[in-house]
């Protein structure tokens, strides 16, 4: 039996590549229609083809979200769209609306159907139903705890995917139309306005808020492996390259360390701290070991912390001047202690010395996001290496 799958979110082609290079086994993407992130960049058919080709060369997979809840007007071209996406080389569709399942299974034996968490599937009998319908994998409701996950796997034998990291819905996925009613944006068709992060006034002295903390299951990866989960899913198709590189890279090390029996307590603490620093909200394991409770929510409205650690993406190497070329993201200055990290997992401690602009003019500080800068460094690094404050 192979290792558990690490499944990453990719909002565009660059994120897809970063995820796979940093250790994801598979990525899930949205097409230009039918996905639940209508506001994301999303993939054209050409990009899907390129993404699949890139992934397959690495022996990895690409899944497409087709998980809106369809209205009549949305259905007209969906089957021809599926045909075109299959031609691009997609490995699986993540679906929510049941009428899609039989079309894919009937026409494409080698393409998997994964049932979206939007269906909030939470028990053995519901999973059995979808298994009988030909579904290959079920993404369980986020409300399902460890014991129930194990029972479902033991009883049904179907591939089970669970979320391990990222934002949580307050309500059952799919069973929430707050966005529709409050903002007229359809939550089940990709327009969710995250109303559960709004503050509502009420008769009490404080606003009513019901936003949840994010999910972080780093501590429980071994449990998930032991109970037979097939795939570990990271949330966040709209997250930054740095966030994805850090989260995927950290979970890759945790997973491999568990399988290889090399994950020390010290190393785990470093990875856990790294995950904590890149998060913009507090985290919890929510329903995994108990019912979610008071401690899993916020009571002060929208709480998000901006992360300033990410200094930039390394985009090349200036051999003439022995400099890394980078695109700046956040302010830094000479003397700052940093870490340069690469997709293959190498890290280099680095104290910022001199900062140059693209024409090798020395700068006092780096203060313009998106500016091309150069830093003296003796080695050329892999594409998509990054630099962060430590």
């Amino acid at each position: 039996m192979g290792r558990i799958e690490l499944l990453a979110p990719a909002g565009d082609l660059e994120r897809l590549k970063v995820n796979l290079l940093y250790g994801a086994d598979s990525v899930y993407i949205g097409g230009e229609s039918y996905g639940l992130r209508a506001n994301a960049t999303n993939f054209t058919l050409e990009e899907i083809k390129e993404g699949c080709s890139f992934a397959h060369k690495l022996g990895k997979k690409v899944f497409l979200t087709l998980n809106i809840v369809f209205h009549n007007e949305d259905m007209e071209d969906v089957f021809s769209y599926i045909d075109k996406v299959v031609e691009c080389g997609i490995d699986a569709f993540i679906v929510s609306d049941a009428f899609i399942i039989s079309y894919i299974k009937k026409n494409y034996k080698n393409v998997e159907v994964h049932l979206s968490t939007q269906n909030s599937t939470s028990n053995i009998d519901a999973v059995k139903y979808f298994k009988n319908e030909g579904v290959d994998r079920v993404v369980l409701a986020r409300e399902v705890g460890k014991n129930d996950i194990k029972e479902i796997i033991d009883e049904t034998g179907i591939d089970i995917e669970v979320f391990i990291h990222g934002a949580m819905c307050t309500c059952y996925s799919g069973r929430c139309a707050l966005s529709n009613y409050v903002t007229n944006r359809d939550a089940n068709r990709g327009g969710c306005a995250q109303v559960c992060r709004f503050a509502f006034s009420c008769k009490e002295e404080k606003d009513f808020t019901f936003a949840t903390k994010d999910l972080n299951m780093a501590k429980y990866i071994k449990d998930l492996i032991d109970i037979g989960v097939k795939s570990l899913k990271i949330e966040g198709r709209m997250r930054s390259l740095y966030y994805l590189a850090t989260v995927i890279g950290s979970y890759r090390k945790i997973i491999d360390g568990i399988y290889d029996n090399t994950l020390t307590g010290k190393e785990f603490s470093i990875l856990e701290e790294r995950l904590k620093k890149v998060a913009n909200r507090e985290t919890s394991s929510h329903y995994f070991l108990k019912e979610a409770d008071y401690n899993d929510q916020y009571y002060t409205g929208r709480v998000e912390v901006s992360n300033q650690d990410y200094l930039g993406l390394i985009t090349g190497y200036d051999k003439e001047n022995n400099c890394l070329v980078m695109v700046e993201r956040n302010y830094f200055k000479p003397g700052d202690k940093t870490e340069i990290f690469t997709p293959s997992g190498k890290t280099y401690s680095y104290v910022i010395d001199k900062i140059y602009d693209k024409d090798m003019n020395e700068l006092e500080v780096a203060r313009h996001p998106e500016e091309v800068l150069k830093l003296k460094f003796p080695l050329e690094l892999e594409p998509y290496s990054m630099i962060r404050l430590v």
């Binding site: 609306d97 039989s102 009998d125 519901a126 068709r189």
Partner: protein, 284 residues
């Protein structure tokens, strides 16, 4: 076209001016009003023979619920029940496994939105569908025309709009250091709208405070051949509305004064005449 009702309280049940009722089974149903034990449901089916008794089991089920769910379904199957409203697909699986005769109503709140999926579930043995409340009248009509499933449309209610497994009011009041309340009206500042939050044993439900007044679309539904409309007892003098609606349908929805009279229920028509936006921007 038949008229189904959900009454606020078991004491209010009066079948004179409706064709049937929806009863929420205790411990197996969320977002409903009063709940009923199996014995009470049995009594009601015996008392109101000739009326259509539907039972709502619209919880999201977890493994621990399944054994009880089997027993409940077997007992309901022996009663004179017209149908079971369900959210969780486990109910459909168990209907197959247990070879139940009772009919099912696909009632996945915000997901019952197109004729193809309605037909999919019809082919899987589901007889009825309670259409999503986020549909336009045009979409409802298209589903009724194109799908083989028997459609139900909720026309008067305070719309149930979300459900969470979390104890959101308990947590909120814990944070305030106050005794928990089971109901709270909240106000969204930008849209200037109120919502009702209710916490029950299985989680927290959200409702739109404003009453959906679908009295003006009853004739359209009647004309298209809609089989059922649903009204929930969410207003004062509900019995008068019920009686008037029942008579209105009896007279083939010809009495225009009915529509004029019930303009007084307000002009909020939910999504019947308003599409939701879902593509906020086009890709560049």
């Amino acid at each position: 076209m038949k008229l189904l009702v959900e009454f606020n309280d078991k004491k209010n049940i009066d079948m004179t001016y409706c064709d049937g009722v929806i009863l929420s089974l205790e411990n197996y149903s969320v977002t409903g009003k009063d709940t009923y034990s199996l014995e009470e449901i049995c009594d009601i089916t015996n008392k109101y023979q000739g009326k259509e008794i539907f039972v709502s089991l619209n919880k999201n089920f977890f493994n621990k619920d399944l054994e009880g769910l089997r027993e409940v379904l077997l007992r309901l199957d022996k009663m004179n029940i017209k149908g079971i409203f369900f959210y969780d697909i486990a109910v459909l699986q168990l209907k197959r496994e247990l070879n139940l005769k009772v009919d099912l109503v696909w009632s996945q709140t915000h997901m019952v939105n197109n004729y193809k999926t309605c037909d999919y579930y019809f082919e899987k043995g589901v007889k009825y569908a309670l259409l999503g409340k986020e549909l336009t009248l045009e979409e409802i009509i298209e589903i009724i025309k194109k799908s083989s499933i028997i459609s139900m449309v909720e026309v008067v209610s305070r719309a149930s709009i979300a459900f969470s497994k979390r104890k959101l009011l308990t947590n909120f009041y814990h944070d305030l250091g106050k005794d928990p309340q089971k109901e709270l009206i909240i106000h969204e500042k930008v849209s200037n709208e109120n919502y009702i939050v209710k916490e029950k044993k299985d989680g927290t439900a959200f409702y739109k405070e404003k009453l959906t007044n679908g009295t003006s679309i009853i004739k359209d539904l009647f004309d298209i051949g809609c089989s059922y409309i649903i009204m929930r007892e969410d207003l004062e003098e509900f019995n008068i509305l019920l009686k008037d609606t029942y008579k209105y349908i009896e007279n083939n929805c010809q009495d225009e004064s009915f529509i004029l009279k019930y303009k007084k229920l307000g002009d909020y028509t939910n999504f019947f005449f308003k599409k939701t936006i879902y593509k906020v921007k086009k890709n560049g």
